[in-house]
């Protein structure tokens, strides 16, 4: 579904990604692991086009989207949920969702606010609350919901469990599994290995801007050496 080859990107003179290559198959949940500063968020930004790659290819299906503008990439089916959530603070929950709305894709049923409120029951009563007047967990749900309103075929989730209470993290987990059951492909960036293990099929580990490990979650669970070398702080 998505193939990334030798992706390079950075900010100004600072090179962050120095050759990231990965593949995501339709319907799978792939988790991008790595320590702080490894390049997880930068990879996500480069994929959605907010950061222009300096080299490399990003193929979505058969189209090369590297260097394309973000709105075109989004319309091709990539949905991006940023780490900082970036809720529009002056817009209500319902209005935030409306911003994300785009026509349905591949004959799948379109996401509506009502369907999202069953996926994230917390959001329902908050419809008319401004985006800056809801909790962090609710903002995270809203950020995911807003992106889902665009009916993406591939969801880029940047650290959705970060800074959330355990009970909300559990809700996130069931939401992601529900999305997977619907056939949505997910690329997840995470630092929380336990959370990742519960939702992902496969993992790739980033270190200083390149992929250093790749395999199934089962393989990762058994590879103590890789976890110690690449993930432990």
């Amino acid at each position: 579904m998505l193939t990334v080859e030798n992706l390079h990107a950075g900010y100004g003179g600072a090179k962050i990604l120095t050759g990231v290559s990965l593949t995501i198959a339709p319907g799978e949940v792939l988790v991008l692991l790595g320590r702080n500063g490894a390049g997880k968020s930068t990879t996500m930004k480069a994929l959605i086009g907010l950061l222009r790659p300096t080299a490399g290819r990003i193929r979505l299906g058969t189209t090369d989207i590297a260097g394309t503008e973000p709105h075109r990439i989004a319309r091709l089916g990539l949905g991006y949920v940023p780490e900082e959530r970036r809720i529009f603070p002056d817009l209500t929950v319902a209005e935030n969702l409306e911003i994300g709305r785009r026509p349905p894709r591949d004959g799948r049923p379109a996401w509506t606010p009502e369907r999202l409120f069953t996926l994230f029951p917390n959001l329902g009563p908050l419809r008319d609350r401004p985006g800056n007047r809801i909790s962090g967990g609710e903002q995270q749900m809203l950020a995911i919901g807003r992106t889902l309103m665009g009916n993406p075929s591939l969801l880029l989730l940047d650290e959705p469990s970060e800074g959330l209470a355990p009970v909300i993290v559990d809700q996130m987990q069931s939401a992601i599994l529900a999305l997977k059951a619907e056939g949505v492909t997910v690329l997840l960036a995470e630092q929380n290995l336990a959370f990742a293990a519960r939702v992902a099929d496969r993992a790739v580990i980033l270190e200083t801007g390149r992929i250093v490990w790749e395999g199934t979650m089962t393989a990762l669970a058994e590879d103590h050496a890789a976890r110690a070398r690449h993930l432990q702080v």
Binding site: G12, L50, R75, R86, F88, L91, E95, I99, R102
Partner: protein, 614 residues
């Protein structure tokens, strides 16, 4: 009581017109963060286009309304074209550069209108229904004023509906809060921006068309309207529609009473209101602190000391400049003298804008105060050239210290507007305090006696002071004070955390820049032999801005190159027909070709060249 009601209604009518222009400006700023100097030009085009349409239509109310609507659509189309052809290319450029580009558009439109509609003021003949009056509380009140009073709130209501009840409005509001996120959700921002710009331009055109029956379409209305509109937008809070409406009411009504009660104060009243509001509420009535809508801010390249090659080039041009009086004729010598003065003037603004990070729209105030100080030193104190040249920077620096105390606490557009307000007040004082300043007639006969009577001596004096001044300003940048100032600009929080007193540093820079500008004003006064209020007027402030931006804000040589280039260009073009058009077009092209200024582009090219050397 009757008087009170009548003035109030008159004030409300003018408030409506003010709101129409200001609404367009604030909508455009809110979304695109472009401070559109050409907004007044769109208003002017609206008036002219309305004249062309309405003078060909039957004079019925229906046709009038139709003509006004057609005008709004036409200016909206012009606005869309402007956005597509020019501004779209500049969204990632520094804010001030967009301002400069739109100023180029102002010049182009002025001459285009002159060419197309001619120099004569154009008014439409008013049919009886337009001249009629209605009775309000037993008072006869012009019918058209009543129409205007209704139009303002109606437009506000429609705009609020548009922004809160339509998907388009929702997208626009989201884009003002986080444009990158809107793009990441699949919204084409280009279409959004173009349509917002078209809406703003249409509102300006509507304002111009509606203003036509009460006055005329003329070539002076653009700058007059855009300053008023800026004031309203800033007083209301940049980007706030409700704020713009409140501010328009406040200013419209105050002006209506001011004209009757204190006729002398009318020129400054608007700016006094703005200064008062900004001092009390630094972000306007309903405004909020500006958030950077650009998420990936580009880091400024640090200013570096000149390399050996640049120093050699500088010395060579200095030698050439010193030898110039032996080769050039008297006319060119005058131009060169003006260029030398412009260099010091621009270099002083550069200290504020570049390292200081404070873009001033009213830098001409200090220039003018220096010039008038020199005039007083000569006329009132009977002092010579030296007294004037000493007193001028002292007076300008002291004034800058006082005014700067208010100014340095602000940032961005608000700071620029407050400096503009003080400059306008200074200009109005010089214009209206006829007993002391001679008003519009200025103060004449300031030619220095003795050795400086020779134009060549005057040139060398100007050159010495300008080179000396510019070198001194450069020295300041590489002193601990300069480093501290630049640190404060780049990261106010971190600078404060290491113990730097930001307001104090900025105030010092402001005062030094003011003093240097005052010195340049004094030299100008002596070189020209006279001082006029125009020295402090907006176009002169813009001259300095253009010079700095044209040269490049982030280079030391920028203001020097820019000032010389701009002065020579201006004096060369001034003699030709439609010089504004050519100059404006040139500014626009230069901005598009060299977003970092001439010196900035040269520096970048030089660095590239150096990198390819083995």
């Amino acid at each position: 009581m009757d008087f009170f009601l009548l003035q109030l209604l008159t004030g409300l009518a003018s408030a409506s017109s003010l709101f129409l222009v200001a609404a367009g400006l604030t909508v455009i700023f809110g979304v695109t963060r472009v401070v559109n100097f050409a907004h007044g030009s769109l208003f002017m085009l609206g008036a002219y286009i309305a004249w062309s349409i309405l003078s060909r239509l039957p004079r019925t109310p229906e046709h009038f309304a139709l003509g006004v609507l057609a005008t709004a659509l036409a200016t909206a189309a012009i606005g869309a074209l402007l956005e597509i052809a020019l501004l779209r290319r500049l969204y990632r450029a520094p804010e001030l550069l967009q301002l400069l580009a739109t100023f180029g558009v102002v010049l182009v439109v002025q001459d285009a209108a002159l060419w197309f509609w001619g120099p004569v003021d154009l008014a439409i003949s008013r049919p009886p229904w337009l001249r009629g009056a209605i009775e309000i509380a037993g008072l006869r009140f012009p019918f058209y004023d009543a129409v205007l009073i209704a139009v303002g709130p109606a437009v506000l209501g429609l705009l609020l509906l548009l922004f809160h009840r339509t998907r388009w409005g929702l997208l626009v509001r989201a884009a003002t809060q986080d444009r990158d996120m809107v793009a990441a959700l699949g919204v084409n921002q280009r279409v959004l921006y173009t349509s917002v710009f078209a809406l703003g331009a249409g509102l300006a055109g509507l304002g111009g068309a509606l203003a036509l029956p009460q006055g005329s379409a003329n070539l002076q209305m653009d700058l007059a309207v855009v300053t008023d509109a800026f004031v309203v937008v800033v007083v209301g809070g940049m980007g706030s529609l409700g704020g713009a409406f409140l501010a328009a009411l406040l200013i419209g009504v105050l002006q209506a009473f001011g004209i009757v009660l204190l006729p002398k104060i009318t020129l400054v009243l608007v700016f006094l209101v703005m200064a008062a509001v900004l001092v009390l509420r630094p972000h306007g009535l309903l405004g909020r602190p500006q958030t950077a809508a650009r998420s990936e801010a580009e880091a400024l390249a640090p200013i570096r000391p000149a390399g050996a090659a640049l120093q050699a080039a500088g010395l060579a041009s200095l030698a050439l400049a010193m030898a110039a009086p032996f080769v050039v004729g008297p006319y060119l010598l005058t131009v060169l003298t003006e260029a030398a003065i412009a260099v010091l003037f621009a270099a002083s603004l550069h200290l504020m804008m570049g390292p200081g990070g404070m873009a001033s729209f009213g830098h001409a105030a200090w220039f003018g105060i220096g010039a008038y100080a020199a005039a007083f030193a000569t006329k009132a104190l009977g002092g010579g050239l030296a007294t004037g040249l000493l007193l001028a920077p002292l007076a300008a620096g002291t004034m800058a210290l006082v005014i700067g105390w208010f100014v340095v606490r602000m940032s961005g557009v608000y700071l620029a507007m407050l400096t503009l307000a003080f400059a306008q007040i200074a200009w109005a004082v010089s214009f209206q305090w006829v007993e002391v300043t001679g008003g519009d007639n200025g103060i004449l006969g300031l030619w220095p006696q003795g050795w400086a009577m020779d134009p060549r001596a005057m040139y060398w004096l100007a050159l010495a002071l300008c080179v000396g001044g510019a070198l001194l300003l450069r020295r300041i940048l590489f002193a601990p004070f300069g480093f501290a100032l630049r640190a404060t600009r780049d990261s106010p929080l971190r600078a404060a955390a290491i113990g730097l007193d930001a307001p104090r540093l900025r105030l010092a820079a402001f005062a030094i820049a003011g003093a240097a500008a005052g010195l340049s004003g004094a030299v100008f006064a002596y070189a020209k032999g006279s001082v006029f209020p125009t020295y402090m007027a907006i176009p002169h402030s813009v001259d300095a801005l253009v010079a700095v931006l044209l040269g490049g804000v982030q280079t030391m040589a920028g203001p020097i190159v820019g000032a010389v280039a701009f002065t020579v260009l201006q004096s060369w073009l001034l003699t030709s027909e439609f010089w504004r058009f050519k100059l404006g077009l040139l500014i626009v092209l230069l901005v598009l070709a060299f977003p970092g200024g001439i010196a900035g582009a040269a520096a970048a090219a030089w660095n590239r060249f150096r990198r390819y050397q083995p």
